[in-house]
């Protein structure tokens, strides 16, 4: 117990230091790229090539192997950003702020990807790309919340202040997300014909679900790798004046 706690505290504190994180994270990044990439390759080949065709939707359903992981991750990244924001506000960890800065563009891209793939899938299936469905609407709101995070950081002149302001905004946003989702859900149940409620479609067959699970896991791992890479770039940018960065740059 004592040893485990000690190990955890040391690791946690080290990861809180940009220098330690930079030194130790290269291996993780490459490992996550490799494993995540392999899982995505397997899941995509399986899902696109070998999973059975849907009786009603034909082959167009296969876009879900991109759409579902992207949509899940887009929301998970926002929650992770809000947690990092709370950590930053309480303990003033520089790494938490850098994680927000690294994660926001990734989350925004995923949200855009989820919306775009949903639109493409909607054209043959629903007959229209955009509907005011509860999920599509709250996904679009999420995209605007990401815009806000990125715009606020650029608008506030000093990096330390921008970091705190963005942390506050991320927490405010995450408190609002359930309220927004609930209100949109309530609104659309009144105004939406039942035929295109995504939530109520029959559950998915295991032969289609397995490749999705593999793909989703691959997406998660790969995206953590991408965030670590972005984090490393932010560290070099923010710590540009530190001696260890100079030594590292000269050593290359």
């Amino acid at each position: 117990m004592g040893i485990a706690t000690e190990w955890f505290r040391r690791t946690f504190h080290r990861m809180g230091s940009p220098r330690w994180f930079f030194a130790g994270s290269r291996g993780w990044m490459l490992g996550l790229y490799l494993v995540g990439g392999a899982l995505i390759a397997i899941g995509s080949a399986w899902g696109l090539g070998f999973a059975p065709t849907d009786r009603l939707q034909g082959n167009s359903y296969r876009i879900l192997y991109v759409h579902v992981p992207a949509a899940h991750l887009a929301e998970a990244v926002y929650v992770a950003i809000a947690i990092a924001g709370a950590v930053h506000l309480v303990w003033r960890m520089k790494m938490a702020d850098l994680a927000i800065a690294a994660g926001a563009p990734v989350g925004m891209t995923l949200t855009a990807a989820a919306l775009a793939t949903g639109y493409i899938w909607g054209i043959p299936t629903w007959g229209t790309g955009w509907v005011w469905d509860a999920r599509t609407t709250s996904m679009l709101v999420l995209l605007f919340l990401y815009f806000g995070l990125i715009a606020l950081r650029q608008a506030v002149p000093r990096a330390e202040r921008a970091a705190l302001a963005v942390s506050v905004l991320a927490i405010v946003g995450v408190v609002n997300i359930p309220i927004i989702k609930y209100s949109v859900d309530w609104f659309t149940t009144l105004h939406q014909p039942a035929s295109i409620r995504i939530g109520e479609r029959p559950s998915i067959d295991p032969s289609m679900l397995w490749p999705l699970a593999v793909n989703a896991l691959g997406y998660y791992l790969f995206l953590v790798g991408v965030v670590i890479a972005a984090l490393r770039a932010k560290i070099i940018e923010r710590e540009a004046k530190a001696d260890w960065v100079r030594t590292w740059v000269q050593g290359r």
Partner: protein, 222 residues
């Protein structure tokens, strides 16, 4: 309670002394509704159904534009810093500040909205409900908007950024507000939406001042 009353009296008196400035939100709201009616070709039939939603969106814009400068003057003359140092509790003082702001932005819009509604041909039956939704919804808009204004205070960037930050957070209020107005215009019973608006207002009164306080403290730190 004392902190609330003190701050409220101070801010309300300042707004009253800048009389014309206090008229801006309602003037903007009326002007925008006028342009909307004009832009849609003065044909009454096209506006009937959408009028409730359209007026709500305009009220939302008026609110964003008004709330943006909420902390600017206080920050410049240093009284914002004094407020953050001395107000006990800060929660009550900030609530007083936002209430005073609402008295000159949200309240006039709600009270005068039936007159503006004439411009876009809202039938008399819908006017009362529209005013009621705005009365219940604009406090939420002011409180949530104040968080955005507090985050941006002192950066020298204003309007557009505040709008970008807070408008996504206005979605629930807009949905219930315009939903109630449109239900009433369609002849239905809007009480469910009105209750939801009241619930959102209660929630934002209890939570938003913490967000405003945190955002203002950030602005003082560096």
């Amino acid at each position: 309670m004392n902190a609330f009353a003190t701050q409220f009296r101070r801010d309300f008196a300042i707004s009253m002394r800048h009389g014309a400035e206090a008229m801006n939100p309602i003037a903007f709201f009326a002007l925008a509704a006028f342009l909307l009616g004009l832009g849609l070709g003065r044909s009454t039939s096209r506006l009937d159904e959408a009028a409730g939603g359209a007026l709500w969106v305009l009220a939302l814009f008026a609110n964003v534009l008004a709330v943006e400068g909420l902390f600017g003057r206080d920050r410049e003359d240093g009284s914002l810093e004094q407020l953050l140092l001395h107000a006990k509790p800060l929660f009550a003082a900030l609530l007083g500040k936002v209430t005073a702001h609402w008295m000159v932005s949200g309240l006039p819009i709600a009270v005068l909205s039936p007159l503006v509604a004439l411009l876009v041909d809202v039938p008399p039956s819908g006017m009362f409900v529209l005013a009621l939704t705005l009365l219940l919804g604009t406090p939420t808009l002011a409180l949530v908007g104040a968080i955005g204004a507090a985050l941006v205070a002192g950066t020298g960037r204003g309007g557009l950024l505040v709008a970008l930050l807070v408008m996504p957070l206005y979605v629930p209020t807009l949905l219930f507000g315009s939903g109630a107005a449109m239900t009433a215009l369609g002849g239905g019973d809007p009480s469910a939406e009105l209750l939801w608006l009241a619930a959102l207002m209660a929630l934002s009164i209890t939570l938003a001042p913490f967000g405003i306080g945190a955002a203002l403290r950030v602005g003082q730190e560096y």
